[in-house]
């Protein structure tokens, strides 16, 4: 059996990162749990694959005209600051903005970069940056939100999906909120909207959008919003929103769903209580105690008992499964491994139900069991076994060498091989069904009698078969 601390490290890195390689596990084992959490929260250098190399080899990534999911994938695979990327993914799922409408991927990439810079700061600041983010403004039509004729779209979604949740405000609050955001627009909105609608790249490619406040169309009159009155603008409205307990509860539940255990989809939150109300209370208390500072709430979450005890209660999202597998297999993780095949590889996440930069709607993705359709499950299993079963991949070669070193003798029991292979791919609790499945891989008659105690020769082919089976197991789908 692995020690509790090893299990905890794997759990932490699954949730706050994209899994852990055996070498990373060795390094992390030398640190206390609290230090590990602090390192994740306060990374020094992401040390990801060089943008210059990516831009030189993949010229379309240079202008971010296309391929942004692949660009982000390179970053997630190679970063030494996985929580930074995980938080960007977290906010991308909540503030879901899709290029299908924007036709301007670089503007959307800048939104993701904004999540990196501001995703663990004060929630108020993040909401202001989001409300001035040109991708979001076009996505929710706020360029058409005028003092003479309001467009409620952004005013509605910031309350319903980005902060408080349904049931905590009135239709009048939505209108007043929208009035406060009149004039929060995008520069050259007529030309930029037209190019987006026409999918025009002419004459010289996309022009990236930027925020522009237009005082001439801003409603400066008095507003009544969530029980307060004044000539509010967007900043004022966000301040009021962020002081609401409903906002704290909404963000807490999202963080619980993303980092701790799968919840029901957001539309059901109004009628379905949280899975662990006490945990939500703890996070809400931290939200107010630390003045809406997301990093502080994250620290409370990652060091809590409810987090430590939540192992294997989440289904990996497609991005988590794909990126975690590629980090393990050692592909696309340094300057020498830049290759066009990345585009097809990250598209696998689309087929599994999560296309980065193209969420199904402003509501984002439904998570948990909804990731697992029968087709998606086949894709997930095939993807993992294909990449971990390929001994040409550097990460797989390394795992083979480590298992050989770990199992020093030429012969070991099947049980020992199962445990070693499981640990190598981040599985610390192997079910009876999975162990029985591994036994079925072996044809020796004595396996029928001795089961996992049967001695076998430790050879690359045997190890690879067990590794492939492990990443095809139910356990590998969970984290």
């Amino acid at each position: 059996m692995v020690s509790t601390s090893t299990e905890l490290i794997i759990h932490l890195m699954n949730r706050a990162g994209f899994g852990i390689t055996p070498d990373e596990l060795d390094a992390c084992s030398l640190m206390t749990y609290e230090d590990l959490v602090e390192n994740l929260l306060n990374p020094s250098e992401s040390a990801h694959i060089s943008d210059d190399i990516l831009f030189r080899d993949h010229v379309d990534l240079h202008a971010s005209r296309s391929g942004v999911p692949a660009y982000w994938a390179y970053r997630m695979i190679s970063t030494q600051s996985p929580l930074e990327e995980k938080m960007s993914l977290f906010w991308h799922g909540i503030f879901a903005t899709g290029n299908s409408k924007l036709n301007n991927l670089r503007t959307l990439l800048n939104q993701i970069e904004m999540f990196r810079r501001s995703g663990t700061g004060k929630f108020d600041d993040l909401l202001i940056k989001l409300s001035q983010d040109p991708a979001m403004l076009i996505w929710l039509d706020n360029q058409d939100n005028l003092n003479e004729s309001i467009n409620e779209n952004y005013g509605r979604e910031i309350l319903e999906l980005f902060s408080m949740g349904v049931g905590n405000y009135t239709e009048d609050d939505i209108k007043e909120c929208a009035r406060a955001f009149t004039g929060w627009s995008v520069a050259n909105s007529e030309y930029m909207s037209l190019m987006a609608q026409k999918d025009s790249i002419w004459p010289y490619g996309r022009i990236v959008w930027h925020y522009d406040f237009k005082p001439g169309i801003h409603d400066v009159d008095n507003k009544e919003f969530l029980g307060e009155a004044g000539p509010f603008n967007g900043d004022d409205v966000i301040r009021i929103i962020c002081n609401q307990e409903a906002t704290a509860r909404f963000i807490a539940r999202h963080m619980y769903n993303f980092f701790v255990a799968d919840e029901v989809p957001v539309p059901q939150w109004k009628d379905t209580p949280p899975k662990d109300p006490a945990a939500i209370d703890t996070l809400v208390e931290a939200y107010f105690k630390y003045e809406h500072d997301i990093k502080s709430v994250l620290r409370v979450l990652l060091t809590s008992d409810f987090f430590k005890e939540s192992r294997y209660q989440k289904i990996k999202s497609p991005v988590e499964l794909v990126i975690g597998t590629l980090r393990l297999s050692g592909e696309y993780n340094d300057d020498s491994k830049v290759d066009s095949s990345i585009f097809g590889v990250i598209a696998e996440s689309d087929y599994m139900g999560q296309a980065l930069c193209n969420p199904p709607s402003v509501e984002g993705w439904h998570t948990g069991e909804e990731w697992i359709s029968s087709g998606a499950l086949v894709d997930r299993v095939n993807f993992a076994s294909q990449h971990i079963g390929n001994p040409d991949n550097d990460g797989v070669k390394h795992i083979l060498n480590r298992i050989h070193a770990d199992l020093k003798n030429d012969t070991h029991t099947i049980g020992e091989l199962i445990e070693s292979c499981g640990n190598s791919v981040g599985i610390t609790r192997i079910s009876g069904d999975t162990a029985d499945g591994v036994l079925d891989l072996f044809t020796q008659e004595e396996v029928q009698t001795n089961g996992q105690d049967t001695d076998i020769a430790i050879e690359d082919g045997t190890i690879l078969r067990v590794l492939e089976f492990m990443v095809s197991s139910r356990e590998y789908q969970l984290c």
Binding site: V59, A63, G67, M192
Partner: protein
């Protein structure tokens, strides 16, 4: 446009913009290098990418006024096709040579774009290639190739017969790190855009180290990942300072002279497009395309993504017979032309 200590007639002045983006036919799609024949015909190499339509990866033939002569090449691995095309050069017999970083070969076409042959193969030993990028002909009509991932420069005959190699991986004098663009001056000295080392290196025709210019940074005279280099008749060195989204001019001894950030206007082809698409033309006319923006970082890449007239991905440089400078920009799919301010 900043200048310093210019000799008479060395200042660069914007002339015009050539080309526009199209995925097929008349236009460019992520152009990565350009060359000009003796007759003044421009050959613009569109890198494109594998997921785009096959015929977006091509060489477009035109003249500076926008007269279009057709295209040749497409994506693939067959004769006359490209996968990661990177450099283009024309010899004194108007044969067109195109390097391919992925296929590790050089394809040769006649002036009309008919495929003649290809040569080269992947590997590390002398004469083999690993990521051939920049290409230029020397005064003896031999071809120099930046063998990028082997971190060296190789010289071949026009038929692909290996002649010489120099450079090795490193950052010392004469060492190279992913070299890209190449230039040859009037004396036959070879200038290398030492991309990974953020500098230009100068070598004798035999490959002996002479000098290095530039150091990493964004200040005047500093370079970030230079992609192209060319030298005019008076020995002034033009550098496509790719990572700084600008072109810099250095004097014959490497002293900083001038930097330019781009001043693109509508090309003939852009005017044609806007003349037909009047709705876009109207909205474009009413837009402020030179806004004042607070950027979230100081990387000129970000500024260039917002301000259309600025260089975005200036990658290669070419001089015509009148010493005018043609600057190919990958991300804006065009060429900006500058002339000396005589």
């Amino acid at each position: 446009m900043a200048t310093q200590g210019l000799e008479q007639g060395q200042s660069l002045r914007y002339v015009r913009t050539v080309g526009m983006t199209t995925m097929r036919g008349r236009g460019f799609y992520y152009p990565i290098d350009s060359a000009m024949s003796n007759s003044g015909r421009l050959y613009v190499l569109s890198r494109s990418f594998e997921r785009a339509v096959s015929d977006s990866m091509r060489v477009t033939m035109l003249n500076e006024d926008g007269e279009y002569y057709g295209v040749f090449g497409s994506a693939g691995i067959g004769d006359g096709q490209f996968r990661w095309p990177c450099g283009i050069a024309i010899n004194d017999q108007n044969r067109v040579f195109v390097t391919d970083e992925y296929l590790n070969r050089v394809s040769v076409f006649n002036e009309s774009g008919e495929f003649l042959k290809h040569w080269g193969s992947g590997g590390e030993i002398d004469g083999m290639l690993n990521g051939p990028s920049g290409i230029v002909f020397d005064q003896d009509n031999n071809v120099l190739i930046a063998d990028s991932r082997n971190h060296r420069i190789q010289k071949f005959t026009s038929d692909g017969e290996f002649l010489q190699s120099f450079g090795e991986y490193g950052n010392g004098d004469g060492c190279l790190n992913l070299p890209w663009g190449l230039g040859v001056d009037q004396q036959g000295e070879i200038f290398v855009a030492d991309w990974g080392n953020d500098r230009i290196q100068r070598f004798t025709p035999n490959g002996e180290f002479v000098a290095k210019y530039g150091s990493p940074g964004r200040q005047e005279g500093e370079l970030i990942k230079p992609a192209g280099v060319i030298v005019n008749q008076e020995g002034y060195i033009y550098v496509a300072d790719w990572g700084n989204e600008r072109v810099q001019v250095f004097g014959p001894d490497g002293e900083f002279v001038q930097k330019i950030r781009g001043q693109a206007t509508n090309s003939e082809w852009a005017e044609d497009f806007l003349g037909v698409n009047v709705e876009e033309a109207g909205a474009r006319e009413r837009a402020n395309l030179e806004p004042d923006i607070d950027y979230f970082n100081d990387d000129p890449h970000e500024e260039s993504s917002h301000i259309e007239k600025l260089f975005w991905g200036p990658v290669s440089l070419m001089l015509d017979s009148e010493s005018r400078l043609f600057i190919t920009e990958t991300n804006r799919h065009r060429i900006q032309v500058y002339e000396r301010d005589n």
